[in-house]
């Protein structure tokens, strides 16, 4: 069984600390990295991919440092960058053939794989389109297809669901679910609903620190008895926002329904709620007052 291990990774850009002492062990399964913009997700993925060097620390694949593994490590990974890059005038089919060639797959085997993955990501009919003419979601799927060509043991997707409409997002989820057998899949997102029913582990990254790494239920359990819903008057909102971490705000008739996070009952009329993944995200990344 494959194992990816991060040992106390630090990354600084000049004086700015982007990653702060991150240590983790990954076994086959789906890991999702949740973090606000600039929290260091892409940086961490690039370090795992050996695209950039950590300031301190090292990444090990099956016990070996990835820097020494070189080609054999690269052969085991698949990567979908955050903004899928491509040569603008290349056609989908050619693009996949080219990437497959970079991955060292011989032509006859490659043709079959490309056709297979084109069908899997539902792009077979568009295979002779230029990539620049595709929609954002379609480009994203081209990215996934190229990453899967070498049947990677470690699949890394950087914000694969950004820019997808809900229908495509659902299709993406079932695709990932299909792929997740016997593979380590790491993906980053800042969309909480992506996690629902898909991820085995949630990793919460905040300002370069790993705040949580656990199964979604356990992470949610930690939030239990901290999520409250309360109906207030509009003019009370300012006061509430100053006092508590506030999540979703909805209008309900003349009043406002606020979800807020606090370790004890904030107001007499507050009602305790079951935490959802959205609460999880807002709990960690909302800008409000923390208590």
């Amino acid at each position: 069984m494959n194992e990816l291990c991060l040992k106390s990774i630090y990354k600084n850009y000049k004086t700015k600390q982007v990653l702060d002492n991150i240590s983790m062990i990954f076994k086959p399964g789906v890991y999702s990295f949740l973090g606000a913009n600039g929290s260091g997700k892409t940086t961490l993925m690039r370090i795992i991919l050996n695209l950039i060097k950590p300031t301190k620390g090292a990444v090990y694949w099956n016990g070996q440092p990835i820097e020494l593994l070189g080609e054999s490590y690269r052969d085991a990974i698949g990567y979908v960058p955050q903004h899928v890059p491509f040569y603008p005038n290349m056609k989908v089919y050619d693009f996949l053939m080219y990437i497959g060639t970079l991955k060292g797959i011989a032509n006859h085997a490659l043709k079959e794989k490309v056709e297979y993955w084109l069908k899997q990501v539902n792009l077979y009919d568009d295979r002779y389109q230029k990539i620049k003419n595709l929609s954002g979601g379609m480009k994203q799927r081209v990215g996934i297809a190229q990453a899967m060509l070498n049947d990677p043991q470690l699949l890394i997707l950087d914000e694969p669901t950004a820019g997808l409409d809900p229908k495509e997002r659902i299709r993406f989820r079932s695709l990932i679910a299909n792929l997740s057998v016997n593979r380590i899949i790491l993906y980053t997102t800042h969309i909480a609903s992506d996690l629902e029913g898909l991820t085995d582990y949630v990793c919460i990254l905040n300002n370069g620190c790993l705040e949580q790494l656990d199964e979604p239920e356990n992470v949610l359990k930690k939030l239990a008895k901290q999520v409250w819903e309360v109906d207030i008057l509009p003019e009370e909102l300012i006061y509430i926002e100053e006092q508590y971490k506030v999540g979703a705000i909805e209008k309900h008739g003349g009043r406002i329904r606020v979800r807020l996070y606090h370790h004890k009952k904030p107001l007499p009329q507050a009602v305790m709620k079951e935490p959802t993944l959205e609460d999880l995200y807002l709990y960690y990344f909302s800008e409000g007052q923390s208590t």
Partner: protein, 366 residues
């Protein structure tokens, strides 16, 4: 690996700028082309000369030139040419005498021996070989330079620019294999451009010099004439025929092209923006011409100007290496400019390849 080379080859030729430049160059040539004209009688007059020419021929020619000065008949050109042969010989002996008057050094001795062997008493219609040589060192050279730059400046830089590099660095073949593939593709592309330009030059100049009736029959001639008839080489100390000189020129053009294309590739791999890579390559190729012309303008023709004959575009042009006795002295050994240039090209080629390999091994995304 073959598959990767094939892909890189295809991607290289998909750059539209190559075709735009090609069309631009061809149309410029077409607009600015000049013909060489000579009447059939003149041509026949050349046929009657017995090579090598003798003192008697010269005497005769000079007398005729003196008497029939204003009567421009078909043979006058021939007599001028015969007269020129003597003038060239005289020039050489004048230089030899000047050299002998100076304190002797091993370089001086060598130059004197070389100059004593020069013999210009051989006359043919040299138009075609000289046209060809000038074209290869002029329009042809610039066309090669531009096409190489346009084809190669973006080879690595565009991976940077588009972010495709992220795939390269995370896929099995990685940067090293890609560098090898791009190097092979660069060499192939250079060969195509070089061979294409040479073939085009040969044919285009037949067309230019042969535009007049029947002249193309005489095109095979003139290759045996001494290089001193080449206007830029009249003072050359080298005993070479135009044919030998053309071969040397073709060799330098080839090696220079290879050298320059590997430099373009190296720049492209170091620089992260396509535009900067383009500028650097342009500078390496065209700046020497510019600087030398500026120096000439300033009448500053000292050792700095001499140094510039060892820049890549001037080496590719070749004629500057042969125009005078340029040399480098290492202890007792006198090394002539063409050999220095040859050594320089080989050193640059080898060190650029080594640089490409080593530099890209440690290559990171950021």
């Amino acid at each position: 690996m073959k598959q990767l080379i094939w892909w890189e080859w295809k991607l290289l030729w998909q750059q539209k700028l190559i075709y735009i430049m090609l069309v631009a160059i061809l149309s410029l040539l077409w607009i600015s082309k000049t013909y060489f004209n000579m009447s059939i009688e003149e041509l026949n007059a050349f046929e009657e000369i017995q090579n090598p020419i003798t003192e008697k021929d010269i005497q005769e020619a000079r007398e005729i030139l003196a008497t029939k000065e204003f009567e421009i008949g078909p043979e006058v050109n021939v007599f001028y040419r015969i007269d020129e042969a003597q003038t060239l010989m005289d020039k050489q002996s004048t230089i030899i005498n000047q050299l002998k008057a100076r304190p002797q050094t091993s370089a001086l001795e060598k130059e004197i021996t070389m100059r004593e062997q020069v013999n210009t008493m051989y006359i043919e219609k040299t138009e075609y070989p000289i046209f060809l040589s000038e074209f290869l060192g002029g329009e042809g050279l610039i066309a090669i330079g531009i096409l190489l730059i346009v084809g190669l400046y973006n080879l690595f830089a565009r991976d940077q620019q588009t972010g495709m590099i992220q795939y390269t660095l995370t896929s099995k073949f990685g940067r090293c294999k890609l560098v090898q593939a791009k190097l092979v593709v660069t060499l192939l592309y250079t060969m195509v451009i070089y061979i294409g330009t040479v073939i085009f030059s040969v044919i285009f100049n037949i067309y230019r010099t042969g535009s007049h009736v029947n002249y193309w029959m005489y095109i095979a001639e003139g290759f045996n004439s001494p290089i001193q008839f080449h206007s830029s080489l009249s003072m050359s100390p080298y005993t070479l025929t135009l044919f030998e000189f053309l071969l040397i020129q073709l060799l330098f053009l080839l090696l220079g092209s290879i050298c320059f294309s590997i430099i373009c590739l190296s720049i492209s791999s170091v620089v992260k923006a396509s535009f900067i890579s383009f500028l650097f390559s342009m500078a390496i190729f065209f700046l020497p011409f510019l600087i030398v012309n500026l120096l000439n303008l300033l009448a500053e023709r000292g050792w700095i100007a001499k140094l510039f004959i060892y820049t890549i575009p001037y080496i590719m042009q070749t004629k500057r290496l042969f125009e005078a006795f340029y040399y480098l002295q290492i202890s007792n050994k006198v090394i002539l400019a063409p050999f220095i240039a040859l050594g320089l090209l080989l050193v640059i080629i080898i060190s650029s390849i080594v640089f490409l390999k080593i530099y890209n091994k440690k290559w990171r995304y950021i």
